[in-house]
């Protein structure tokens, strides 16, 4: 990984540090040395490093300094779909968006259901990646939901969780066994909760918009029933479950109730599910086609409430690149997916402006919370930790222009949105990979 080449020494000074892991909030200077966070000291307590010391002084006053952001749900499309995205372009988009770590889902071709694919991804990330890449392995061979993948070997190769994302594990017994088996290897299980019989031919949320567009609907219950099932199975097996992309009020309710009873369940929500409703789909814009679909206003409110009260622990993009060949189509023929890495932080900061979350809560959901779920030694500004740091300008307003994205794909429903707040620096293992919006080639 690029981080290993880093040997720079620098000091970020004058910024407002928010580190939910250490419950640190205030003006601190951060000294980075040998790829690690060497020292965190109150601003003004240490003199500026003289030029001959070789320490670069980087003025970040007026900016927010946080642990490097983590997106635990990303599709990098490599191997197999390099025309949509590669590990290089996807990680570049991450760096541009303020993320220093991303986790990539296994629905590649071949599927990441074996150590050789995991190794391939890690190797690609090491040689051409811009940020830390943590692969997620498959639950079942070929994501077919029939038999378990070689989960132990996947773990040894470096996966940080298992998921059949994109597909639900419809067979309840297989899901039960996956949870039991994953326990042995200390891997959280990340289900994509969708009852395929209920979703059927559905393309969008079942509701008023499916009724007026005549597009077949996916009822909210298709998600809720699987969330309920998987919670029951997490209880049965005593193992850790992390629910991907929660989109419905029913799912939020089940998770909240399970957490109250002490079940080991965590959950994530995507920016598109807390920023958009099914309304966005009514003129058949295929960039709004996503699975789970954009839901009703009530669902959106419930997701926000879940973020607010801690039911939903994590914000993750479900960055799902699709080429124009797959999106410039009739709605029914277009692929699902929304890219998110380059708009995620700004849309999340909107939750602060809207009074849903405190800034510190947003940062926690993008740093320490996913790190804890995946047991990554990340998401912190502790001295001695890897120097993964993001610097955010809360005041910067910008207009979303997909043609300027670093991702290979352009499938965003947020085109032309005016957003406020943006990452201005991404540091990975002590190396500045993005500065003022520019990738540091």
């Amino acid at each position: 990984m690029l981080i290993r080449k880093a040997a720079l020494k620098f000091r970020l000074y004058g910024g407002k540090v928010i580190d939910p892991h250490n419950q640190l909030e205030g003006n601190f200077d951060i000294l980075v040395e040998n790829g690690k966070i060497a020292r965190v000291t109150p601003t003004g307590s240490t003199p500026k490093a003289p030029p001959e010391s070789g320490v670069e002084n980087i003025d970040v006053s007026g900016k927010i300094v946080v642990p490097g952001l983590i997106d635990m749900h990303v599709h990098l499309r490599e191997p197999g779909f390099e025309y949509k995205e590669t590990i290089q372009t996807g990680s570049r988009a991450a760096a541009a968006g303020g993320f220093s770590s991303i986790c990539c889902m296994p629905n590649t071709n071949p599927v990441n259901d074996s150590s050789s694919v995991t190794e391939y991804i890690l190797n690609k990330a090491e040689t051409g990646g811009w940020v830390n890449v943590f692969p997620i392995g498959a639950i079942s061979k070929g994501l077919r939901g029939e038999s378990l993948a070689e989960i132990g070997e996947l773990k040894e190769a470096g996966v940080v969780a298992i998921s059949d994302d994109g597909n639900p594990v419809m067979n309840s017994n297989l899901m039960r066994r996956a949870l039991e088996y994953a326990k042995v290897f200390d891997l959280p299980v990340i289900p994509h909760c969708e009852d395929k019989d209920l979703s059927g031919e559905g393309l969008i949320n079942e509701g008023f918009i499916s009724t007026i567009t005549g597009l077949p609907g996916i009822p909210a219950a298709a998600e809720a029933v699987m969330v309920a099932r998987d919670i029951a199975l997490a209880e049965l097996t005593g193992w850790r479950l992390h629910i991907a992309h929660v989109s419905t009020a029913g799912a939020v309710r089940f998770i909240r109730e399970a957490k109250a009873r002490g079940v080991a369940v965590t959950a994530e929500a995507t920016p598109h599910h807390f920023s958009l409703t099914e309304e966005a789909v009514k003129d058949y814009d295929t960039n709004t086609k996503v699975n789970p679909p954009l839901r009703s206003g009530k669902d959106l409110d419930a997701v926000k409430e879940g973020l607010n009260d801690g039911t939903i622990d994590v914000i993750a993009s479900d960055h799902a690149p699709q080429s124009s060949v797959e999106k410039e189509l009739e709605f029914e023929s277009a692929e699902n997916g929304i890219i998110g890495l380059e708009t995620e932080l700004s849309l999340s900061l909107k939750l602060v402006a809207d009074g849903i979350l405190s800034l510190s809560d947003v940062i926690a959901k993008l740093t320490i919370n996913p790190a804890r779920i995946l047991r990554l030694p990340k998401g912190t500004l502790s001295e001695g930790a890897d120097a993964d740091i993001s610097v955010i300008d809360l005041e910067q307003s910008w207009l979303v222009d997909p043609s300027k994205f670093n991702s290979k794909s352009r499938n965003t429903p947020f085109n032309h949105w005016e957003l406020k707040g943006r990452a201005v620096m991404t540091i990975v293992g002590g190396k500045i990979v993005m500065r003022d919006g520019v990738i540091q080639e």
């Binding site: 509701g207 009724t211 005549g214 410039e328 023929s333």
Partner: protein, 309 residues
């Protein structure tokens, strides 16, 4: 009012005054259809392309006659959906057709929303001639014209639409259109064929045909298709017919001068009993004549209007 809309993608978008203008224009075109020379030069030099991705002789012919009566040049394309992968066909075909500089493209497609996509890729005006289970605006407009002629008005009438509402583009367009014109619309069918939240479209929802047609001025019977479902929406055609077919006995619940409409083709003896289908209530032939008039009006307005003589 002055017509300003570029495309006719659905009744959803149209305002009541636009609908009125279309119907009034259609009425004046009906007069032309009674002349010995049924042609006006209004659209001379303009090109109308009929781009059909789903076979439909009736609708296509109706648009073609309408265009010819306005002296437009017409070109027909019927693209088989199975020939190439669907998506490529639509965009590629759209680009190819755009090269001919048509003024109006009339299109039908099995995918809901396909005309929206088309409208993004071509400069021509688009008329949706039926897309998936979404809309079929010219059918709704001809239904409205027919009812207006029969009853002398629209406002205040009661319309009952019976059958598979979920999969019907005719139902959607008619619900949008008639409710905008002040008609009380009711729908009825088994709950499995009634889409969620449809009451938000401003209609009354019933599960029994008897309740929906009570005091109705117009009854619209939709074609029921067994092949759509695998026994999961309703058990059998026999049972469907037993609970939802329009027979003479049920018909007595409606107003005495009730008008019965069917977008066709009818499953005689299934959604409608033969006595009713062949009775004095049906306006099917009127619907054909009105179809041409309404489509002339749409073409005329989208082409920019002009002198009618």
């Amino acid at each position: 009012m002055i017509w300003q809309r570029k495309h006719i993608l659905g009744m959803r978008d149209l305002e009541a005054e636009e609908i009125n203008l279309i119907l009034e224009t259609a009425e004046s075109f009906k007069e032309i259809s009674t002349r010995t020379i049924k042609k006006v030069p209004t659209m001379r030099g303009k090109t109308v392309v009929n781009l059909f991705f789903e076979p439909s002789t009736r609708t296509r012919t109706s648009f073609e006659i309408a265009a010819k009566r306005l002296s437009a040049d017409t070109i027909n394309f019927t693209v088989s959906a199975s020939s190439v992968s669907k998506g490529e066909t639509l965009i590629d075909t759209a680009r190819n057709i755009e090269a001919m500089n048509p003024d109006i493209i009339v299109t039908r497609h099995s995918a809901g929303g396909a005309p929206y996509l088309l409208s993004k890729y071509v400069n021509s005006s688009i008329i949706n001639a039926g897309d998936g289970a979404h809309e079929h605006p010219s059918q709704a407009l001809l239904d409205m014209l027919t009812v207006k002629e029969q009853k002398g008005k629209l406002k205040g009438l009661k319309l009952a639409i019976i059958g598979d509402i979920s999969h019907s583009r005719v139902a959607r367009s008619n619900i949008f259109g008639f409710t905008k014109m002040g008609v009380e619309v009711r729908v009825a069918g088994p709950a499995t064929l009634i889409p969620v939240d449809i009451e938000k479209m401003g209609v009354g929802v019933f599960y029994r045909i008897e309740q929906a047609i009570e005091e109705a001025d117009i009854i619209m019977m939709l074609r029921i298709q067994m092949e759509r479902q695998k026994g999961q929406l309703f058990p059998t055609l026999r049972e469907y017919s037993r609970f939802y077919s329009l027979d003479l006995k049920r018909l007595k619940l409606a107003k005495e001068d009730v008008t019965i409409m069917h977008p066709g083709p009818i499953n005689r003896g299934i959604e409608i009993s033969p006595e009713v289908a062949d009775g004095p209530y049906s306006v099917i032939l009127n619907q054909v004549t009105n179809g041409v008039a309404v489509r002339m009006a749409l073409l005329y307005l989208l082409a920019g209007g002009g002198d009618l003589d």
